[in-house]
Subunit: 449 residues, 2 copies
Amino acid sequence: MHIILLSGGSGKRLWPLSNDTRSKQFIKIFRRPEGSPPLGKDEDTGYESMVQRVYRQIRSVDPDATVMIATAKSQVSSIHNQLGDGVSVSVEPCRRDTFPAIAIATAYLHDVIKVPADEAVVVCPVDPYVEDSYFQCLQEMCRKAEKQDGLVLMGIQPTYPSEKYGYILAREDSEGHSFFEFKEKPDAETAKKYIEEGCLWNGGVFAYKLSYVLEKSRELMGTNSYYQLYGNYSKLKKISFDYAVVENEKKLSIVKYNGEWKDLGTWNTLTEAMEGSYVGDVRMNDKCENVHAINEMSVPMLVMGCKNIVVSASPEGILVSDMDQSSYIKPYVDDIKQQIRFAEKSWGRYLVLDVEKKSMTVKVILNPGHKMNYHSHERRDEIWTVISGSGHTIVDGMEQPVKPGDVVTMAAGCKHTVIAGDKGLQMIEVQLGSDISVSDKKKYEFPYK
Amino acid sequence: MHIILLSGGSGKRLWPLSNDTRSKQFIKIFRRPEGSPPLGKDEDTGYESMVQRVYRQIRSVDPDATVMIATAKSQVSSIHNQLGDGVSVSVEPCRRDTFPAIAIATAYLHDVIKVPADEAVVVCPVDPYVEDSYFQCLQEMCRKAEKQDGLVLMGIQPTYPSEKYGYILAREDSEGHSFFEFKEKPDAETAKKYIEEGCLWNGGVFAYKLSYVLEKSRELMGTNSYYQLYGNYSKLKKISFDYAVVENEKKLSIVKYNGEWKDLGTWNTLTEAMEGSYVGDVRMNDKCENVHAINEMSVPMLVMGCKNIVVSASPEGILVSDMDQSSYIKPYVDDIKQQIRFAEKSWGRYLVLDVEKKSMTVKVILNPGHKMNYHSHERRDEIWTVISGSGHTIVDGMEQPVKPGDVVTMAAGCKHTVIAGDKGLQMIEVQLGSDISVSDKKKYEFPYK
């Protein structure tokens, strides 16, 4: 099976664990099943993220699947850290909704990975919380798509009259031809009626032969070349695959999925899927009922006698919310203006420890053998103090080995990088300047191979 | 009026805002009244601590009062930071209960501050949450003590049948002489009966002529000399002033206080006394009811739709507790083993930013013109990076000026100190070693005046 996983944008509904750079699918909150090895390059905590869970499920159903992730540039480091370097990633130069995203990912499969145009691919979101049988259903969709023209959709058997999903109804016209009706997110009463009529949820999952989407791309965007799509991406119209393709397609068929399917987009849905009641350094007394606590800070958390709440702490902030109210945090989080306090990078991760008017102190953790870009800053000096591991630095072309206790100072304008040894490297970086910003960064070619 | 404020030990009932070095009386949680100037040397936040509130109240009732604080060594820095250098402090070399503490404080007043033995002093806890009339009552107790021998006690009009306080009953013997009965903390039913009989709460407040306690000290401990008491302090018997003195005294009189009086020793009582519902960077939605949040961390806190809880965060940890349950946190907090994460020092304060196996990163904030002790560590190297302000360092006798961006490295064994300039100085200190401990510190005489 070829599979494209759509890895969506950064969300704030799971703040403070998701932020402008970490999307919800990268939060490690699910206990990894015993016996299954950890994925990716991160330190093993015994927990896995949504994207790791889905990837592991795909591999267990089809060890030979070609998995490709379509995502924004900002997620590439997280994907490689969590899934390893073996996974293919098609980078969207900017956000343009699902039709351009699926078109460019399909073109990437064809033009870069060289998948023949008559082979089928299935596209699905990166973060459904589902049983393994969901992925068997994807296989069936692929098989079906290979044998026919047009599109194969997944219809999910509704378990309650949800107002959050679109519905699909299979009907017949007066001449006995079957067709599908697509229904927008309804109110609860209408949803109930839909379910009685036999409607299914639209799972946002599509299978097709590559040629099908390549043809649609040419038709609707004037090209199906990966390189042309990439170059013109910012000018493509923002339109969803549903509007652009699905709802205009006559040759549709549906494969039904009748298993667990959850969208873990808010704290109350996410915590329902947690196995234990907490992750991290959390203590609770026995008077707590339905409390879920996730502590990503390095200080202890104590919860006493609370009911139906979620508590979540990260270097970004602290959330304490009633379960039901947790769906409404977005405007409050949008109102919080601050620098990003932690991020995954291709070389490891960083964590902001202290912010002052003219300084910022950051803990930098490089994975074994990894290195930063060779770069400089225009408006800040930096001072590195190595606290563990070893490696070497290059500063304005000068290389030197570093070990714990070594200090490296870099004035503004100075080119620098650090390369971790085989046990990784941690350091404290003090940034000094009156205008410290993540965007103040100029990259250079690495000074040697 | 002469007044001795007893400043009690570190408590964990208000964790994470109190810890092994910060007692509850130093938590800044009360909004300072408009127009009253900030006390002490700390940055002004508009809030005051219990000790600052009491000190301000004393000054407003009696601007000329001699205020002396009897406390442990560990609190001296906090007291001077919060009240300034003008306040007298009598240091107990170790903890020995209230009789030795009152005896040495009284001896200090007499021998060091040279208060005549026939003048009266009133002793009271440093942290009652009371109206100004409480301090007028202290004045009245002093006036009374000056005119008579023996002890003057404060009796507080009970407002409910508390099980937490001792009770006092004034009675008459068969010959018509009045005497007092002291009753231990009763159960609620007994307390109710006591109140019906006219009992008052024992407020732990005593007034006497200095000569009275000096005489008791000589009698019960063999000396009343401040220097002898100080030198032998660890050998003195642990006994409370109530047991050693009050309950054996015939010459007692009582001054009644009939106003607000609260012991803010647990989160539920403390939060009742808060004016607003939060302190620090806290956002709440309008579905919150009876939520109190105190955030001493540098990241935002969001509380949504919670009821009857206290949320409190500091570099020590995060507490989320039902109000009633908050009285029971002590055993859970005792179970948390970690290095102290923040502390007030004579020169300013420090804050632990990061802890690794062989390193600790600390933010050091020196107040203007202040300096650390000249000291060394046996088992760790240290590296300072100045992030704001200016000053100069002395390392193994070598002095040099420092400004933001300067780095100073000190190997284990090396003597060092830093002296802040007139705008203070902040720096990031990286400690490196396999056995980092606050007790690894050797102090030296300052290398010059």
